[in-house]
């Protein structure tokens, strides 16, 4: 019997750098993800987006610091120095760097606090939606039969609901709050994740490695989470990165309509809503608008880049940002 000849290559040093973990979830796909990370690092648009997101996150995180340096707290109304005699907002000046809003509050401080709400709503709602959607998609795709029928019809139902009407009706009953806004966003976002994951699982479950696991006597749970899940994780990461901006916009929409965060708590959505009554006060609309635009644009571009990084062939085909 012949033995393979390549045995001398890359042996000890390869093992030395890798931890001696055994079995289970702990050692899944690291080198595949390392490759993705490498490709992302080379993508200038992705890096610019990531830096932009980091800056906005820092802006939100250090909102109290912004308040401290300006000396204006978030809901403090400066009727004398912050408003024109007719009660309209004042433009940018050395006291109010981004101007004031219609109540004479510092717009810079309010945008910083608004960023907290937007990111919080976007991230939490996306996390819930991705978790629920992935679980539903896995169960529905792998278990099939009656489970699939029930879960798929539920997904169809959720996708068919008019979400704004639903949100308005819900808020009319329980009153607006950040929690309700997040719940509404998550409720209307998981279904699309569930569908995509289900489709992936349907094709994965017919692969021979799933049959191999079954012939070894693995339980459905084990197959779903250890054999199938790692193979859909790439898609889930991409979906999540694209869901975050839409959740942020969703939150802004709800707040704009008065269905999200109740005033006086600032949110980009309700600042923009207030701003539209003062068309001559350009700063009032511009700053929260630009923040919202930059945030969603950065997340979208980063999401696209992550998708490309997971699929290098597509990357070459469209050669969007690849150098060489």
């Amino acid at each position: 019997m012949t033995r393979p000849v390549e045995t001398e290559l890359l042996t000890s040093e390869l093992d030395a750098e890798l931890p001696p973990t055994v079995g289970g979830v702990a050692i899944e796909g690291r080198s595949a993800y390392q490759l993705v990370w490498l490709r992302l690092r080379q993508d200038r648009v992705a890096m610019a987006s990531a830096i932009m997101i980091a800056l906005i996150a820092l802006f939100a995180l250090f909102a109290p610091l912004v308040a401290h340096f300006t000396g204006h707290s978030v809901n403090q109304e400066f009727h004398r120095i912050g408003e024109n005699p007719d009660g309209s907002p004042k433009g940018p000046s050395h006291i109010f760097v981004w101007g004031t809003d219609d109540q004479g509050r510092d717009l810079l401080v309010r945008c910083a606090y608004g960023a907290r709400i937007s990111l919080e709503a976007g991230l939490i709602a996306t996390a819930i939606a991705v978790f629920v959607g992935t679980t539903v998609g896995l169960a529905s795709g792998y278990l099939g039969k009656i489970v699939d029928t029930i879960l798929s019809r539920t997904t169809d139902l959720v996708l068919a609901l008019p979400y704004l009407l639903f949100a308005i009706a819900l808020v009319a009953v329980v009153g607006p709050s950040l929690g309700i806004a997040i719940a509404v966003i998550a409720f209307f976002s998981w279904a699309s994740v569930g569908r995509i994951v289900r489709g992936q699982v349907l094709s994965l479950r017919e692969r021979e490695f799933v049959e191999a696991a079954r012939s070894l006597g693995a339980s459905s749970m084990r197959i779903m989470f250890i054999d199938v899940l790692p193979n859909v994780l790439a898609q889930v990461v991409v979906l999540a990165s694209l869901l975050i901006p839409s959740a942020i916009v969703f939150e802004a929409t709800l707040s704009y309509l008065g269905l999200g965060v109740p005033p006086p708590t600032p949110s980009w959505g309700n600042i923009i809503a207030d701003a539209q009554n003062y068309q001559e006060a350009w700063w009032f609309l511009l700053f929260p608008g630009i923040l919202l635009l930059l945030t969603t644009l950065s997340f979208n571009l980063l999401g696209d880049a992550i998708r490309d990084a997971f699929d290098p062939r597509g990357d070459q085909m469209f050669a969007r940002t690849k150098k060489g």
């Binding site: 019997m1 012949t2 033995r3 393979p4 045995t7 042996t11 000890s12 390869l14 093992d15 890798l18 001696p20 055994v22 079995g23 289970g24 050692i27 899944e28 796909g29 080198s31 595949a32 692969r207 021979e208 490695f209 049959e211 191999a212 696991a213 079954r214 012939s215 070894l216 006597g217 693995a218 339980s219 084990r222 250890i226 054999d227 790692p230 193979n231 994780l233």
Partner: protein
């Protein structure tokens, strides 16, 4: 690999008792119309009454064209599919109706090696954890002990144990198949069902993997069911060979006997399709070429399923299904399901179907001399 007559094939004589017994195993896949109101629109009769026995320590080859049901039969034996009818007795226990839970201890005794070395290994998991899977699933050996046993297995199948932390994508096809073999061996099974384990590999690698399987058989007293569509491979590895056609066994015999005295016309046709590595011999040889495809297993032909393509077909063949019994004075080990079994030295290439639809059959059964190439003056 060497299949010349001079080289002794790697074989062990079957001496053990019956390890696996299939009785009238049937697997139908119902076809459902996709409309809202589901109606059964017939069934694909992938395996339609197969009875076989496999003795401990032997290798049973299973050959047949694509779509003849050999892979389905393999998945019935490993209970990846539930049977439609029939019984499977493994090691004295009827496993054909066991629940998934009751099946788990049996699964460690019956393992499978898959055809596609790329599809059968999870691309997102490391080789160490793939081979360690059987231990994890059956709660045997953990931590350092599991790693040690996995590395022993890797060494046993000719892989470098240092490659424990690599991903399947970092291995070649042959090495991947070795990983599959190591995984199948982990729980020291009694029976390994090899579903075309080498057909996706290069010929040189095929030989390596086949020799590995043969070595392991000698070392651990394994029993194999070896599925292939390549007769030369099956001949090399098998003690006995079963020829399947459209979900049924057409002929079963010891390997040498089958190659010396093929009784079923279908076996003869398969044999004549094996390339001969001698151009002179090849030129002189008449090839029996079956025309047409295997009929649909949804609606198999009546009587003998081979009759629409058979050069010896008679009216009986359409009406009566032939039993799988010894024919033409063969021993009990050589059974053929054919009313008009082929005698030694009989030339099938000159025969024509005697069916009423003979004109049609003439078209289906074409005989050619293999010399009819462009080089003939």
């Amino acid at each position: 690999m060497s299949t010349e007559p001079g080289v002794a094939p790697v074989q062990s004589q079957p001496t053990g008792e019956v390890l696996l017994e299939l009785t009238d195993v049937v697997k139908h896949f119902p076809i459902r119309s996709s409309s809202l109101f589901r109606r059964d629109a017939g069934a694909v009769r992938a395996v339609d009454g197969v009875s076989l026995t496999v003795r401990a320590g032997e290798t049973l080859g299973l050959v047949g064209e694509t779509g003849c049901g050999k892979s389905t039969l393999a998945r019935c034996i490993t209970r990846l599919y539930d049977l439609t009818a029939g019984t499977i007795v493994f090691d004295g226990e009827d496993i054909s109706r066991l629940s998934p839970r009751a099946m788990r201890p049996v699964r460690s005794k019956i393992q499978m090696i898959f055809q596609d070395p790329y599809g059968s290994l999870n691309p997102r998991r490391r080789v160490g954890s793939i081979i360690g899977d059987p231990f994890a699933i059956h709660g045997m050996a953990s931590g350092a002990d599991r790693k040690r046993r996995v590395q022993e297995l890797m060494e046993m199948v000719g892989l470098n144990p240092e490659h424990y932390n690599r991903f399947p994508a970092e291995f070649s096809g042959g090495q991947r198949q070795r990983i599959g073999v190591a995984r199948a061996l982990a729980l020291s099974p009694k029976l390994i069902v090899c579903d075309e384990p080498v057909s996706a590999l290069d010929v040189s690698i095929q030989a390596q993997v086949i020799n590995l399987l043969a070595d392991l058989q000698t070392e651990f007293g394994l029993t194999y069911i070896f599925i292939a569509h390549d007769l030369s491979v099956v001949r090399h590895v098998s003690d006995r060979v079963a020829v399947m056609y459209l979900g049924k066994v057409g002929e079963i015999s010891s390997s040498e006997e089958l190659y010396l005295h093929p009784r079923h016309p279908y076996t003869n046709a398969l044999m004549s399709a094996v390339p001969v590595p001698d151009p002179d011999l090849s030129d002189r040889r008449e090839r029996l070429i079956l025309a047409g495809d295997v009929p649909s297993p949804t609606n198999p032909p009546s009587g003998c399923r081979f009759h629409p393509r058979c050069p010896k077909a008679r009216q009986d063949c359409v009406e009566k299904e032939p039993a799988l019994i010894p024919r033409l004075g063969d021993g009990p080990g050589h059974q053929t399901a054919c009313h008009y079994a082929v005698a030694d030295g009989e030339d099938l290439t000159t025969q024509r179907s005697q069916l009423p639809s003979a004109a049609q059959a003439q078209d289906l059964v074409a005989t050619t001399r293999s010399t009819e190439g462009s080089e003939t003056p």
